[in-house]
Structures are given as structure tokens and as C-alpha cells.
Homo-oligomer: 328 residues x 2
């Protein structure tokens, strides 16, 4: 690993973000990444966070048209309430703050506690829980479905609505709508290695893959001998469509887990499009790349979000963050 | 690997690019990726290309303010002259075309041949050779220094000049100036695996790293026991500065080789900034991410480009490509 010592990995990364992105305010000691121009008058704030190791999620999505602030926890560990309360205070213009929470037990508890503390300090808080992963119900760290790739859709689309000046209740409703319209499924071709452990977090022999993997390496549905990109796309897309049953165009995220080359991700994206065409699901937009990762895990996930005209307009709206940027 | 069969990896990726990027024209059969609006009247065309496996280089850099077209070869294999001639014809508005060529023997020969053929067809061609890697002189596939990370700087800055309507000779001069003002150094923490071979292309035991690696796994300067991010930054930055000796601010590219998590890359970026501050080299801009990769190799490279006001203005100019996008 390209690190100093495991204990400083998150702080080191925040120092690097501060150096590379003068448009962000990075509080390294308290682990909060904030838009430099926050709070923006009249605008609802958007705050997310979660364990580190999924970069660019969430810090890379802070900026105009997406998150107001992000709070990284230790690797694969929830941020603490104090971080989230600080972030909420830093971005609240008086219009309130939406918390975007991935469905992991620790995250849910800590965001809940932070919401209570922030409300006591006079910040109105609403929450959207992201639980898009159809692979399994209940899992390591999770009651219900896990939150994965749809987080990007929720943060982008709710962020655009906030940018347009929508009130907190409306942004919360849009965030929930996006989550309810989204489903994901991921596969691992290799395990990931956390800095603290220094060796793979689970055992996945070469020549096998895990279908339905979680973004911390949580077990999926089944393990098989290696499949082709064609076969994996059939399996993953059908797993999502069986649950989502879209009746309209979808946003497509073909997401790399970290170590799969972009060359392979684009090839997999072609297979995902093939299956969608065979299932007569129209595609509105496609994003291919490493967005919701699992350290150095090889593999990929697919996320679809069924969109109407309003959601598509918000998806296309300008965004200016380190990892997602268009229209401005 | 997330592939079908090795033989279709490049074509599959091009199908995926076509599906994800309607703003590009992707000729899958002939392997040419072109801006949809090419040729742009009055604008010089910029064409680059090279072996696949370094994505997003070069196809991900096609669009407004950067490349007009890119030609992917097989994995780690030069594109053939016919691809380059087609690309030149597709983007020439009558103002001529600049070829951006990384210094590998096959690339140099094939771009040279393509230039002759295109000139015979009436397209004026100029060339910029990129040879920024200070690790070694002469190497597998290369006479002289290898071309690596500076390719991004040349394509971005020359592309911006072309966008402004500069004539071919001026764009060629700017491209050469950028190359001469840039140097790189890379390290590998693991080998990469090509689809055709299916196993690591060289032997690098866990717990060791290769200092001065090439983007195809060519040998570097030396192999050592694993070093910290701090130590690697000291070594890599000094290797670049010893050769570049900048007398002014630099652009900084902290580039991932493919499998190193963004969390680690940002931490490494912090160390790179620390060394630059110790050496009293001012930083104008910093880019952190996977831009010039080597399939699934773990590791990173640093590239610095000394800039004056003009080059910095062109760096900041709007760019709208799949992998690099700002200001539009």
C-alpha cells in the first residue's frame, strides 16, 4: 500500500485533498470537508459521510450542485456524530440541512444522534436513507438492504434541487424518490485490503468471483467460477431489473470497485447496455468510472435509477466537484 | 479480469465508450474516437493514440479543448498508421493536424508513417514527441526517455491553444514547450496483468516496490523493500526536480497507475506537496487521480510541468472530455 502508517491514512488523504482543492475547506483535525462558499444564503445544505475507502465518495462530491459537506470516518467505519454536527452547523444558512445516509447500522445510529444534537443547536435536519443494493437483505453491518451506488444519484439530484433553492421538505422528498427509483448489484473479482489489516479482508481465490458483493467485502449471493463480462452483465442487470422493474428510461452507473481498469469497465458497460436493450429498457444517461469504490477491490457494480423529466433535468444540471463536474 | 475474451477487449471498450458518450463518434471497426463536431472550421486538429491499457489516456481526453481524435491500439501495442490517417482526415478543417506521440519505438514509427500518408492526402501534419520520464534513458520499447504523464499536459495545453484558433506551427511550439517543461517519475507496488497473458507481466514480490517503473511495466532504476508514502515522495519528487530544476510554479499531476485507491493517492499527493514546499517549488495547480494508467498496476507517478502565465492560462481554459472537464 502507498501509505505512511495505517493510523494516519485518513488524515493524510485530507491533507492531500486540501492541497489539491483550494475550492474546498478541509478541516483535517475534525475531518470535515466543506464547500468554501458555505453556507450559501437561502440554500438548503446537503451533508453526507461514511467510512473512508470508498473514494471519491463522499469528499469528492462536495461542491456546487452536489454536497455542501462530507465527513469521512476511519476506513470502513462510520463518521462520529460530532463530525456531522460540525458539518451541519458549517453549511446551514437557516434553511436546514439534509443528511444523506447509507444504510449501515453504524452510519444510521450516528447520523440519528447527530440529527438530534444539531436540532438542539437550532439546525433543522431531514434525512434520506439510501438502501439500493438488491444483492441481499440484512448483511454484515446492515439491517435491510445496503446503501451503495445510488448514493451518487441521490447526492447529485438532491444537490441540484438544493442549488435551485428548493425547500428542505422538497429536497428530502426528491432524495427519497431517487433512492426508491434506484437499485444496485455488485460483483467482486478480488478482495480488498484495508490499511489496518494489511491483507485481504476475505478469501476469494483467483479464478472465482463473488456475485452480490458489498462495498466492504460483505458476502453476496453466491460464489462462482469466473464468468465473462457478458455473463456477469446478464446476471447483474437482471438482478437489478427483477427488483426495480422500470417503466421508463434509466440513469446507468457502471461503477468500478477500485482496481478494475477503465478499459474493462467500458467493456462491461457495453455488455450492460446490451442487456438493457434486450430487456427493452431505454437508457437516458450513462456514467462509467470509479465512483463508489472498495479500496483496491477488483470488480464492478451497476446501478440504475428510473427517471422522469424532472429527475433527468436535475441530473443534467451543473455540478462542480472534484469527481463529478459538468455544465460549469 | 472483467472481460469476454482477450481478442475483443479493445472493441468491447469502444462499444462501451460509444454507449456512454454520445458526444463522441466512435468508429469501432477502425478504432478511431472523434469529437462529434469535428472538423471544427478554422481549428487545427489534435490527434493522439497509443496502446490500450492506459485509460482514460487517450480516448477519455477527446472533446472540446483537448484532443480532436484518439486511436487506441491493442493493449500495450501501437495504433497502426491507417487509424491515424483516418483520424487526421476526420478532424482536418484545412488548418492542419498536430500528432501527439509518446516516445515508444512503435508509436514513433507508426505516427511517422501516418504523417507521410496524411501529407500525401493533403493534410498538413506537425508532431510533438512526449518524452518526460526521467527514470531511465533507453528502455524496453524506447530509445531515449519514455513518454508518460506529461502527455496529459501536452494534450490539454496544446488543445486549449487549438481551441483558441492558434495556427499549427504555434500549437506545435506550445506542445514542445510543455514537453520540455515537464518531467515524470513512477513507482510500481505491483505488476499489471494484460488480458492476453492473464498473469502478471513481471515479477514483483509483495513487500517490494520498483522505483522508476514504466507504464508497461518496463524496469525502472531499482527495486527496494516497501517504502512509506513519505519516502516514495522524497525519492520521486527529487528524481524529477534533479532533472527539471524549475524556476517558477509547476503544475502537479499525482497519477495513479490503476489499482491504487484514491484514498492513498491523495495521501501521496500530500507528501508530494510537502517535498515541493521543502524544496521551495511553488505549485500552481494539482490534479490527483487515475489518468495515465497501466491496467491494474498498483502504484503512482508524479509529473511536474513548469508553467508561465500563458501555459497556466491555457491549462485553466475550458475542457470538456470524458475524463477531464472544467469551465464548460
Amino acid at each position: 500500500m502507498l501509505i505512511n502508517v495505517p493510523e494516519t491514512v485518513v488524515a493524510d488523504a485530507l491533507r492531500g485533498m486540501a492541497a489539491a482543492h483550494p475550492e474546498l475547506t478541509v478541516d483535517i483535525e475534525n475531518r470535515v470537508v466543506v464547500r468554501r462558499d458555505a453556507p450559501v444564503a437561502g440554500k438548503v445544505g446537503l451533508v453526507s459521510g461514511g467510512g473512508s475507502g470508498h473514494e471519491p465518495l463522499h469528499g469528492g462530491f462536495v461542491g456546487r450542485g452536489m454536497l455542501s459537506a462530507a465527513c469521512p470516518g476511519e476506513v470502513f467505519t462510520s463518521p462520529v456524530p460530532d463530525q456531522l454536527v460540525r458539518a451541519a452547523a458549517a453549511v446551514d444558512s437557516g434553511e436546514g440541512v439534509l443528511f444523506v445516509v447509507k444504510n449501515y447500522t453504524g452510519d444510521v445510529l450516528n447520523f440519528e444522534m447527530a440529527a438530534e444534537l444539531a436540532e438542539e443547536e437550532g439546525v433543522r435536519i431531514a434525512k434520506v436513507l439510501v438502501n439500493d443494493d438488491v444483492a441481499v437483505t440484512d448483511s454484515l453491518y446492515t439491517a435491510g438492504r445496503r446503501g451503495t451506488g445510488a448514493t451518487l444519484f441521490v447526492e447529485k439530484i438532491a444537490g441540484a434541487a438544493a442549488d435551485e433553492g428548493a425547500p428542505l421538505e422538497r429536497i428530502e422528498a426528491i432524495g427519497r424518490q431517487v433512492n426508491e427509483s434506484s437499485r444496485s448489484f455488485g460483483v467482486a473479482l478480488s478482495a480488498c485490503t484495508t490499511p489496518a489489516k494489511g491483507s485481504p479482508t476475505f478469501d476469494l481465490p483467483p479464478g472465482e468471483l463473488e456475485l452480490g458483493i458489498g462495498i466492504h467485502g460483505e458476502p453476496g449471493r453466491e460464489r462462482r467460477r469466473m464468468m465473462t463480462s457478458h455473463e456477469i452483465a446478464d446476471f447483474a442487470v437482471d438482478a437489478v431489473l427483477d427488483d426495480l422493474r422500470p417503466r421508463g428510461p434509466v440513469l446507468v452507473l457502471v461503477n468500478g470497485m477500485g482496481a478494475t481498469p477503465l478499459l474493462e469497465l467500458y467493456g462491461f458497460g457495453a455488455e450492460v447496455h446490451r442487456v438493457l436493450a434486450e430487456r427493452r429498457v431505454p437508457v437516458a444517461r450513462t456514467l462509467v468510472g470509479n465512483y463508489v469504490t472498495s479500496l483496491d477491490m477488483a470488480g464492478a457494480s451497476v446501478t440504475f435509477c428510473q427517471v422522469n423529466e424532472e429527475l433527468l433535468r436535475l441530473w443534467d444540471a451543473p455540478v462542480n466537484t472534484p469527481a463529478l463536474r459538468w455544465g460549469c
